[in-house]
C-alpha cells in the first residue's frame, strides 16, 4: 500500500485517477481508519488531502461560506461569522464524536462516508449546502443532497474528491437547528435526527423552510411536506402537528442494534418539532 499527501488539487486528482485497486481519500480519518482496522477495506493507495491549502481554509464572502474539505469540525466552532450564520450546521458538526474526534473529523468526510446517520448531513441539506468537487474534468458544484446515493455510496466519480463545501450567507431573519437522539449524552451514533432551516417575515410568519431527517432511511431525507407544513405558519400547534405527521410519513427506517422502527418514527416527530422551535427562535420568531 501507498500513502501520498499531495500539495495541490491537481496532483490529488492525478493520483486518484491513475491509481488502480482500492483508492481512498483521507481527511480526518475517523471513518477510514476504523474501517481499515475492522478489515472492511484494504487500501492500495491513500491520498491525504490535508496538505492542499484550499482544503484547509474557511472563506467568507457576501455570497456565503466556502469551507475547505479538511477543516476539522472543531475549527468550525471557532469561526464566529459561521456560527452566527449557521448555528445548526455547526452544532451538528460539533456533535460528531469526542473532542479527540473533533480535532480531526470533517463535514466532507462525514458526507462522503455516506452513513445514513451522519450528523452534519441533514443540517447541510436543510441549509441548502453545495459540494465543490475537483476531478479529471475540472471543478463542478452539486447540491449536498445529491452527493450520497445510498449507504456507503456517493455520486463521486473515479478521480474526484470534494475540495470544499459551500453554504449560502445566512440572513438575520433566518435560523437553523439540528437535533439528534442518542441514548448516552456523547459518543453515540444518531438513532434518529432532524434539521430545520427556516426564514420568517416581519410578522414572524415562516416564509421559507427546509426540513431534513437523518437515520430514518438509506440516506438523509429532505422532507418537503414538512417544510410546507411550516410555511405560512407561526409554528402554531397545528403546524407543528402537521410537521410531525409529515416527518413520520417520510420515515422509512430499519430495526437495528441502535433502535427500532417504531422508536425512530416516534422520535423523528419529536425532534423535528423541537428543531423547528429552536430554528424559529433563532430566526427571531420568539
Amino acid at each position: 500500500m501507498l500513502y501520498q499527501s499531495p500539495h495541490t488539487a491537481a496532483e490529488a486528482v492525478d493520483l486518484l485517477k491513475k491509481s488502480k485497486g482500492s483508492v481512498h481519500v483521507l481527511a480526518g480519518g475517523s471513518d477510514l481508519l476504523v474501517r481499515m482496522k475492522g478489515g472492511f477495506i484494504e487500501p492500495d493507495l491513500i491520498v491525504d488531502i490535508k496538505r492542499i491549502p484550499a482544503t484547509q481554509q474557511i472563506k467568507a464572502s457576501k455570497s456565503g461560506f466556502i469551507i475547505g474539505a479538511a477543516v476539522s469540525c472543531a475549527e468550525l466552532a471557532q469561526n464566529k461569522a459561521l456560527v452566527k450564520a449557521w448555528p445548526g450546521v455547526v452544532e451538528a458538526a460539533n456533535l460528531i464524536g469526542s473532542d479527540q474526534i473533533q480535532s480531526r473529523c470533517t463535514m466532507a468526510g462525514n458526507l462522503c462516508n455516506a452513513s445514513p446517520a451522519a450528523d452534519s448531513v441533514p443540517a447541510l441539506i436543510a441549509a441548502n449546502a453545495e459540494a465543490v468537487i475537483q476531478g479529471p474534468k475540472g471543478k463542478r458544484v452539486i447540491p449536498v443532497a445529491k452527493v450520497v446515493t445510498g449507504p456507503g455510496k456517493t455520486s463521486l466519480k473515479k478521480g474526484e474528491f470534494i475540495e470544499a463545501l459551500k453554504l449560502p450567507s445566512g440572513s438575520a431573519k433566518s435560523g437553523d437547528a439540528y437535533l439528534r437522539f442518542i441514548p448516552r449524552t456523547e459518543m453515540d451514533i444518531a438513532v434518529v435526527s432532524a434539521a430545520v432551516n427556516l426564514s420568517i417575515d416581519a410578522k414572524k410568519v415562516v416564509t421559507d423552510a427546509r426540513v431534513a431527517l437523518g437515520a430514518v432511511a438509506p440516506t438523509a431525507l429532505l422532507v418537503p411536506a414538512g417544510a410546507k407544513a411550516l410555511i405560512g405558519s407561526k409554528l402554531e400547534e397545528e403546524a407543528l402537528e402537521k410537521l410531525g405527521a409529515a416527518c413520520a410519513k417520510a420515515c422509512n427506517p430499519i430495526d437495528d442494534k441502535r433502535g427500532t422502527i417504531d422508536f425512530r418514527v416516534k422520535v423523528a416527530k419529536v425532534l423535528a418539532t423541537r428543531a423547528a422551535k429552536a430554528a424559529y427562535a433563532r430566526a427571531g420568531g420568539k
Binding site: P183, E186, M187, V267
Partner: protein, 756 residues
C-alpha cells in the same frame, strides 16, 4: 475460623488514612507496564482465527497455504492442544473455549491461531486458513434455549442437580435449589401476592485493557508467561495442566492489570500463546482486539427470572419464591447458583425458595462480573418489594426494615448471619439528606439493597525486614485498584511504623506459594490477614533479637510503636530498639529477618449496601439520566477509605450502565452486532453525576482488623434502584434491563393507554 482472631482491633494509626499509592507515579507517567507493554527479543505476533458462525461443526481445517506464507512461524489448532491433559484436570470446557474442537459454539469461538514475524503477515496468514463448516441451528436467547424444542448444544448434557436424572439431553445444564420453610403456606398467609417475570440482558465487564499476554516456551519444557490476569497462580496451574508441564517449570508474572471485574479470572488465549511459542520456539505476544474482547471473552449472563412474593397488610413478607434462569454460554459454570443464593439474602423470611438454572446458549462463555448473578436477582426482588410496598401503602424503606436480616437470622441460602450491615445501611438511607431532597419535573427517586458473600481462601505472603529498617512485602494477589497501598497500611499498622517505610509488590508465581485470584472481593481481606500474620512473625523474631541483645527472656520484651521495649525490672532503663537498630545488626544476630505466612483466610464477612438514586426521564423520547446517586455500604474496616469509595463508585457506575444502556445485541444469524464501545454503550463521563458514598464500618469479627471485602456489592442494587426510580416518576414498572429509551418509551405509552 481463624483461631488467632478474637476481637478486631479498633484503634488505628495508619489504617483508615489516605496516603498515596506506591504505583501512582508509574501510572501517571506512562511507565506502568500492562499486558501488551512487554517486548521480548525475537518476539512474534500472534493472531487468532475466529468462527463467524454461532453454531457449526468443523469439517476440515486446512492450514497449508498459511504455513507456506513467508514469515509465518507457527500455526496451532486443536491438534496442538490435545484433550487428554485437559480431561485429566477437568478443564475440558476451558480448553474447548480456548480452541474449538469438533464444533464451534459461538460467533467468535477460536478455531486456529498463527504466530508470524509481524502483524501484517499474521493477518494475511489468517485469511489463508481454510475452515470448512457445517452450519447448525443455533439459539442465543436464554428462555428459548430452555425450551425443549431448542437446538441442543451438547448431546450429552443431562441436567445436573435434578432427581431423577433426566434421560434426554437439553440446554438446562444444572439446577440448584435453596430455601427453607413452606412457600405455599407463606403465600396463603399473605394479603397480597404478586408474580412477575424480569429479564436482564447480557452485559460485559468492559475493562479498558484487552486481554494480552507474552508467552515464551523453551524446548526444555520450561516457560514464562507475562499476562494481565486477576490470578497468576491459577493461570499457571491451569496453563501447566493444559500444556502438560510441571507447574514449577512455568513462571507466570502478572502485569499491571487494566481492569478485570471478573473477566480476567479465566483463561482465554494464554494456552494458545504458549502453544504457539512452543511450536515456533520463539516468544509470542498475543493481544485481543476490542472486537475479540466483546465477541470472545466472558460477559456476564443474560437472565430471566420468575418471581412471586407475598405480604400481609402490616408489612410482613410471608414468602418469596424465584426461579432464575441464567445463560452461561456453551458450557456449565456456577453462576446461576449464586443468583439463587443471593436473591433474598437481605431479608429474614420464614418461607423462601429459589431455584437457579444454568442455560446453555450459543454465546461466549460467561464468567464472573462483579458479584456474579446477584444484580439480576436483586433487580427482581427489590423491584417486587417496592411494588408490594406501594400496594400496602407502606414506605419502601420501612417495608425493608420490617423484614430485614439481622445478626442471628438464618439466611435464605443456609448459614446464620453474624453481625451484618443491612439494617444500619437502611437506617442510614432513611435519614440521608438525599432521601428528602426535592425532585424536579420528570424526575423520580428509587432505592434498593444488595448483598454479596465475599470470599477468603488461600493466601501466601512474604515480609522482609531490610537492614535500613524499611519493609518489603510480597503478596500473590493481584492489585486491581490500590490494594498495594492498603496492604502497606496494614503492615505499617501492625509493625507500628510509617506507611512510607513499607513497600508492597506482587510476586511472580515462582516467588510465593499458591494464592487464589483477586475475585470475590477477597484481595484485601485475605492478603491483609496473611500480611498481618507475617508482620506478627517478624515482630516475634525482632523481639527475640532484642531479648538476645539485652540478655533477657523474650517475655520481657514488648513491641510498642515500631520498637522493641524492655519491660522487665532488669533492663527497663535500656533505650528501645527500632526496627533499623535490630535489622542493621542482623548479620551478627542470626541473619535476615522475615515473616512468612501461608494460610486459608476463612471468615470473609458478608457485605450489604443500600443505594439511592434520582433519575430524570424525557417522556417524549424515553431518554433517562441519573441525576443524583448515593451509595451506602458496609466495609467492615475501610483500610484506605479513598479506595473503598472508588470501589463503591465504580460498581455503581457499572450498574447504572447496565441498567440503562448496556446489552449484547445478536442478529438472527446468531452474530454479535455491537462488538465495540461505540454501540456497546458503557457510561461516559457526561452521563453520570458525582456518586456520593457513605462508608459504614461494622467490623468483621473474623478478621484481626475487622476488614470485609468491598469490591462487588456496589454493582448489585443499581438495576433495581433505577427501575424503582423510573417507577416512582411515572408509575410504570420496568421489568426489562437495560431500560433503554425504546423500552421506557414503550412502557410509558402502554401506561398512557391503560389510564386513557
Amino acid at each position: 475460623m481463624n483461631k488467632e482472631v478474637k476481637i478486631p482491633k479498633m484503634d488505628f494509626k495508619s489504617v483508615g488514612t489516605r496516603p498515596i499509592r506506591p504505583d501512582g507515579v508509574d501510572k501517571v507517567t506512562g511507565r506502568a507496564r500492562y499486558g501488551a507493554d512487554l517486548d521480548l527479543p525475537g518476539q512474534l505476533v500472534g493472531r487468532v482465527l475466529r468462527s463467524p458462525h454461532a453454531h457449526a461443526s468443523i469439517k476440515k481445517i486446512d492450514t497449508s497455504k498459511a504455513e507456506a506464507l513467508p514469515g509465518v512461524k507457527a500455526i496451532v489448532t486443536s491438534k496442538d492442544l490435545p484433550d487428554a491433559p485437559a480431561k485429566a484436570a477437568g478443564l475440558e470446557a476451558t480448553l474447548e473455549n480456548c480452541m474449538a474442537r469438533k464444533k464451534v459454539f459461538y460467533d467468535g469461538h477460536a478455531v486456529a491461531a498463527v504466530a508470524a514475524i509481524d502483524a501484517k503477515t499474521a493477518k494475511q496468514a489468517l485469511k489463508l486458513i481454510d475452515v470448512e463448516y457445517k452450519i447448525l441451528k443455533h439459539v442465543t436467547d436464554v428462555d428459548e434455549a430452555a425450551d425443549p424444542k431448542a437446538p441442543v448444544l451438547h448431546k450429552d448434557c443431562l441436567t445436573r442437580g435434578v432427581k431423577p436424572k433426566p434421560v434426554k439431553a437439553s440446554n438446562i445444564a444444572r439446577v440448584s435449589e435453596f430455601g427453607h420453610g413452606n412457600v405455599k403456606k407463606g403465600f396463603k398467609a399473605a394479603d397480597i401476592v404478586l408474580e412477575r417475570n424480569f429479564r436482564t440482558e447480557q452485559a460485559h465487564q468492559g475493562y479498558i485493557e484487552p486481554h494480552a499476554c507474552v508467552a515464551s516456551m523453551s524446548p526444555d519444557g520450561s516457560g514464562e508467561l507475562w499476562v494481565c490476569t486477576q490470578g497468576h497462580f491459577v493461570f499457571r496451574q491451569q496453563c501447566a495442566q493444559l500444556l502438560g508441564l510441571d507447574e514449577s517449570k512455568l513462571r507466570v508474572t502478572s502485569s499491571e492489570i487494566g481492569g478485570g471485574f471478573g473477566g480476567k479470572t479465566h483463561l482465554w488465549l494464554e494456552p494458545v500463546a504458549l502453544a504457539l511459542s512452543r511450536k515456533a520456539n520463539l516468544p509470542v505476544k498475543l493481544v485481543m482486539t476490542r472486537e475479540e474482547v466483546f465477541r470472545a471473552s466472558g460477559p456476564t449472563s443474560a437472565a430471566s427470572i420468575d418471581i412471586k412474593m407475598g405480604v400481609t397488610r402490616d408489612g410482613t413478607i410471608t414468602a418469596g419464591e424465584a426461579t432464575l434462569r441464567y445463560s452461561s454460554g456453551p458450557w456449565v459454570g456456577s453462576w446461576a447458583m449464586l443468583g439463587a443464593m443471593t436473591s433474598f439474602a437481605c431479608y429474614d423470611l420464614e418461607n423462601v425458595k429459589t431455584v437457579g438454572k444454568e442455560i446453555l446458549v450459543n454465546r461466549p462463555k460467561t464468567t464472573a462480573y462483579r458479584a456474579p448473578s446477584a444484580p439480576m436477582a436483586a433487580f427482581a426482588v427489590e423491584s417486587m418489594i417496592d411494588e408490594l410496598a406501594a400496594q400496602i401503602g407502606m414506605d419502601p424503606v420501612d417495608l425493608r426494615l420490617k423484614n430485614v436480616a439481622r445478626e442471628g437470622t438464618r439466611a435464605s441460602y443456609g448459614p446464620v448471619y453474624g453481625p451484618i450491615g443491612i439494617e444500619p445501611s437502611l437506617e442510614a438511607a432513611k435519614i440521608h439528606p438525599h432521601m428528602s431532597a426535592p425532585l424536579k419535573e420528570n424526575q423520580g427517586r428509587g432505592m434498593a439493597c444488595g448483598f454479596w458473600f465475599n470470599f477468603g481462601g488461600q493466601a501466601c505472603t512474604d515480609l522482609n525486614i531490610n537492614a535500613d529498617g524499611s519493609v518489603s512485602l510480597t503478596v500473590g494477589t493481584i492489585d486491581v485498584g490500590g490494594a498495594r497501598a492498603s496492604l502497606s497500611l496494614v503492615v505499617a499498622e501492625e509493625l507500628g511504623i510509617e506507611y512510607e517505610k513499607v513497600k508492597t509488590v506482587i510476586g511472580d508465581s515462582a516467588t510465593l506459594g499458591y494464592n487464589e485470584m483477586t475475585d470475590g472481593s477477597r484481595g484485601t481481606f485475605a492478603s491483609s490477614m496473611s500480611a498481618i500474620m507475617s508482620a506478627r512473625k517478624a515482630i516475634d523474631v525482632m523481639k527475640q533479637r532484642a531479648a538476645d541483645t539485652w540478655d533477657v527472656p523474650v517475655s520481657e520484651v514488648e513491641w510498642v510503636d515500631g520498637h522493641a521495649v524492655a519491660k522487665g525490672r532488669k533492663k527497663s532503663n535500656r533505650p528501645p530498639l527500632s526496627i533499623a537498630d535490630i535489622a542493621s545488626v542482623a548479620e551478627k544476630n542470626g541473619g535476615p529477618i522475615a515473616g512468612h505466612t501461608e494460610m486459608v483466610a476463612d471468615g470473609a464477612g458478608v457485605s450489604f449496601a443500600t443505594h439511592i438514586c434520582d433519575v430524570e426521564v424525557d417522556p417524549e423520547t424515553g431518554q433517562t439520566r441519573v441525576v443524583r446517586y448515593t451509595v451506602i455500604q458496609d466495609a467492615g474496616k475501610a483500610v484506605h477509605p479513598t479506595y473503598v469509595e472508588g470501589q463503591f463508585q465504580g460498581g455503581a457506575a457499572q450498574g447504572i450502565g447496565w441498567a440503562l444502556n448496556e446489552e449484547y445485541v445478536y442478529g438472527d444469524d446468531g452474530r454479535l452486532q455491537n462488538a465495540g464501545f461505540l454501540d456497546y454503550r458503557i457510561p461516559v463521563c457526561s452521563d453520570l453525576p458525582m456518586i456520593d458514598t457513605q462508608i459504614l464500618e461494622i467490623p468483621n469479627p473474623n478478621h484481626p482488623y475487622g476488614i470485609r471485602g468491598v469490591g462487588e456489592t456496589s454493582i448489585v442494587p443499581p438495576l433495581a434502584a433505577i427501575g424503582n426510580a423510573v417507577s416512582n416518576a411515572f408509575g410504570v414498572r420496568m421489568t426489562h434491563v437495560p431500560m433503554s429509551p425504546p423500552r421506557i418509551l414503550d412502557a410509558l405509552e402502554k401506561a398512557e393507554l391503560e389510564t386513557a
